[in-house]
């Protein structure tokens, strides 16, 4: 990952209009992944945190079915990324899960959002259209999950 401002970031900073949404605004801070391996490693790291948090939340009454279904999707995505790494000649990833996670929805949301960002920002680092297509499909699933977590949080706030 690189931290310095890139021409891409400069473009986005200059072109952001007042009407741009939150996620469009995020582009100004986008991480520039230099290689597909960097991008895929970031996805694995973020996904591992989401999975750990979902496992923790599985024990919360009423959350088990939701969390289990999301975990199935994450396992499928991990497997797909593993095959992509193999096709690209990259070593398998084995990110260490976070040592400890809480059961907070805010924590799950932050981790899920970081995964969405890693997938979106990783697209330009991928070497071909097949890889972009795969990660774009994963991005759709992750973005949907992020929205579901948002709706869950809104529901909890409405009940409070």
């Amino acid at each position: 990952m690189t931290g310095a401002a890139s021409p891409r970031r400069a473009f986005f900073s200059a072109s952001l209009g007042a009407a741009a949404g939150l996620l469009l605004a995020r582009r100004a801070e986008a991480t520039d992944y230099a290689t597909a391996r960097e991008a895929l490693d970031a996805m694995e790291t973020q996904a591992a945190e989401v999975v750990a948090r979902l496992r923790a939340l599985c024990g919360v009454p009423g959350a088990r079915v939701f969390c289990e279904r999301l975990l199935v999707a994450h396992e499928r995505q991990r497997s797909e990324r593993g095959r992509l790494r193999g096709r690209l000649g990259l070593p398998a990833a084995a990110p260490a899960p976070p040592a400890q996670v809480d059961r907070s929805l805010a924590g799950l949301r932050a981790a899920q959002e970081a995964l969405v960002f890693a997938q979106a920002e990783g697209l330009p680092a991928l070497p071909d259209g097949r890889a972009v297509d795969l990660i774009a499909h994963q991005l759709v699933v992750s973005a949907r999950q992020l929205t579901l977590v948002d709706l869950w949080i809104e529901g909890e706030q409405a009940r409070a």
Binding site: R8, F11, F12, S15, G17, A19, A20, G21, L23, L24, R26, R27, A30, F66, R69, L70, E80, R83, L84, R87, V116, Q119, A120, E121, L123, P124, G129, R130, V132, D133, L134, A136, H137, L139, V140, A143, R144, L146, T147, L148, D150, L151
Partner: protein
């Protein structure tokens, strides 16, 4: 790599009908129809995708404008409609800038759009659901054709917005979400 499940025939038909009605360029339509597996490499490819995407953004903005103007959006959902219209305006403006940078001529909004009968809130919500579904499917279908990194990054974030819009309307309309 696993083969992706194709869109259902009904969903594909709607996407294509919407894309044609919005004035989408023939080459991009060919990709969405599955007749062209890949557009040729070159700056013209991004212009094709930009033209197609802008056509759909104009369509979506027009729908939310119409719904908000005619007060068809239920009060409790108005903030979503305003937010989503703003997102589409942001998508439009970003892609207009990208197109102008590449020397392209952006498509103008159509003078009118066929939204079907919009008599009550449910009609509008159904149309919003359909246009957001079409937008998600179109960006997802075209994103692997994009050749430049700045547009690819933008398209990724636009896709995230489209998924959010679609998921919210699916929830409002009582669809199974997970």
């Amino acid at each position: 790599m696993p083969e992706r499940a194709p869109l259902s025939p009904a969903r594909r038909q709607f996407l294509l009908r919407t894309a044609r009605a919005a004035g989408m360029a023939p080459l991009a339509l060919g990709v969405l129809e599955g007749g062209a597996l890949a557009l040729p490499r070159g700056t013209g490819t991004d212009l094709e995708v930009l033209q197609a995407s802008l056509s759909l953004e104009h369509h979506a903005i027009a729908l939310y404008d119409e719904g908000l103007r005619r007060k068809l959006v239920p009060a409790g959902l108005r903030s979503y409609a305003v937010e989503f219209r703003g997102d589409h305006e942001g998508h439009r403006d970003t892609q207009l800038e990208l197109m102008r940078e590449r020397g392209g001529r952006p498509p103008e909004p159509l003078r009118s759009y066929d939204f079907g009968p919009l008599r009550k809130a449910d009609d509008l919500l159904q149309q919003a659901l359909l246009i957001e579904q079409a937008a998600q499917d179109a960006y997802l279908g075209l994103i692997s054709q994009i050749r430049t990194n700045d547009y690819l990054l933008s398209a990724g974030f636009i896709l995230v917005d489209e998924v959010r819009h679609l998921t919210v309307w699916q929830r409002v309309l009582g669809y199974r979400l997970y």
